[in-house]
Amino acid sequence: MKHYQQLPEDIVDALTHARRLEWWTLGFISSIVIVMYFAVGSSQAMKSAWAEDLLSLLPPILFLAATAVERKPPTEFYPYGFHRAGSLGFFASAMALTAMGGYLLFEAAMTLLNREHPSIGSVRVFGREVWLGWFMMAALLYSVIPPVILGRKKKKLARKLRDKILYTDADMNAADWQTGAAGIVGIIGIGLGFWWADAAAAGIISFSILNDGLRNTRTAFAELMDGAPRKIDAAEISETAKQIKHRLQKRNPNHRVQIRQTGRYIRAVVVPERHEAISQENAKLLADKDAWQLTEVSRAVSSTTALDAANEDDKR
């Protein structure tokens, strides 16, 4: 039995490519987390950048998990299959991005409110006293380069694959390099004697991260609520969904088209306009005294049936 239609070859290729990219991301981010751990001093932006790198391990893991299970055949416990794994992973990674933005903003605000003056010491290297700020900047510079490259590649693939976890992950990588850059600017600022530079830089960046996070959370929310499919980069209804709905509507007058997104896939249902909830009698037939729980029974047409209105429904 064929549960899902064959994916086009370029999509399959893009998926394999994306998975490979995410493994690279995991490797790079882990190495960054380790390097940064040893360079983190009392710089606020530095600590935030580290926490953020740790958090940005989440989307790649979710992406790899979701793509691994999404095309598995339905089971007794998951009769609809696993397409929604993508939606769930998207929701979690959107929340992670939002949390990151919020955390960053909070930390920066607290540093500014408490007027904390960061102290950065020094280490002895070959008998010379070297300010630790230089090492922090070097670590931050290292933490900036991989996300820039990976993020750009992922964004392109995410659009092609309509993959919102991947898209959120690309946003996360953008956030990574921006906070990294803000950290460098902050440490230069500290070096020049401006105590607020560090926190101000982190605070400014946090707004754009929070914004991305909230937008993604809104879309993820809609997806879990069986909302109409949204665009990948905005909280509007996607063009593809509008088109499918429009064409189905034209072929099926006197019908309503319900369309929703499960992971990267779209599902549409055509119901008669005067479609009502299942009758008490029919429900009782199936569920006895729990009949009130059963609200709909639908029958899918065979895969090759014409898409026009089923004749038995329309007596004109």
Binding site: H117, I120, G193
Partner: protein, 162 residues
């Protein structure tokens, strides 16, 4: 800090938005170039300048005199800044508060690296050991937070950690 030279920008930079990556990099390079001209890192409250050729006020926590290694290092710092030494002793919270407000420049007196004051004071590199309870702790000197040029000088005077 030295005055910046008048910026002479080639006309091809005109289309560059400051928010783009090259813009950020340019800002970075520019600031790094400026840095090499002045003291980097700098003090946020100018402790090094205030002490220079003047008085270095050292607070001793919980004792009347600093230990021998501490005294040696403090003398070296005073010498570097060409400053007279002035010792202050008293209750530790008052000394820490005086350090925070800049009345005292340096704290000594076998301060453990794990001091509970660590979020109020800047710590130097370890210079000796002390026993508290039955645990051995590394001891440090403390400076006002954000005085990074001064801290660098203190660390230089400490030299190698034991």
């Amino acid at each position: 800090m030295q005055a910046m030279e008048p910026a002479v920008e080639p006309p091809r930079c005109l289309h560059m938005k400051p928010t783009t990556i090259p813009g950020l990099l340019a800002a970075l390079v520019l600031s790094l170039v400026t840095l090499s001209a002045c003291s980097f890192p700098a003090d946020m409250h100018g402790t090094s300048q205030k002490v220079s050729g003047s008085v270095l006020v050292v607070g001793i926590l919980g004792a009347d005199t600093a230990g021998p290694r501490e005294t040696e290092i403090i003398n070296r710092i005073a010498q570097h800044f060409d400053a007279r030494l002035m010792w202050a002793s008293g209750e530790s919270h008052r000394l820490v508060s005086d350090l925070e407000s800049g009345k005292v420049h340096l704290l000594a007196g076998a301060i453990p690296q794990t001091t509970p004051f660590s979020n109020k004071i800047g710590l130097s590199r370890p210079l000796a050991y002390t026993i508290i309870g039955d645990k051995r702790h590394k001891t440090v000197l403390a400076v006002r937070k954000g005085e990074n040029a001064f801290l660098l000088e203190v660390n230089r005077a400490i030299g190698e950690s034991p």
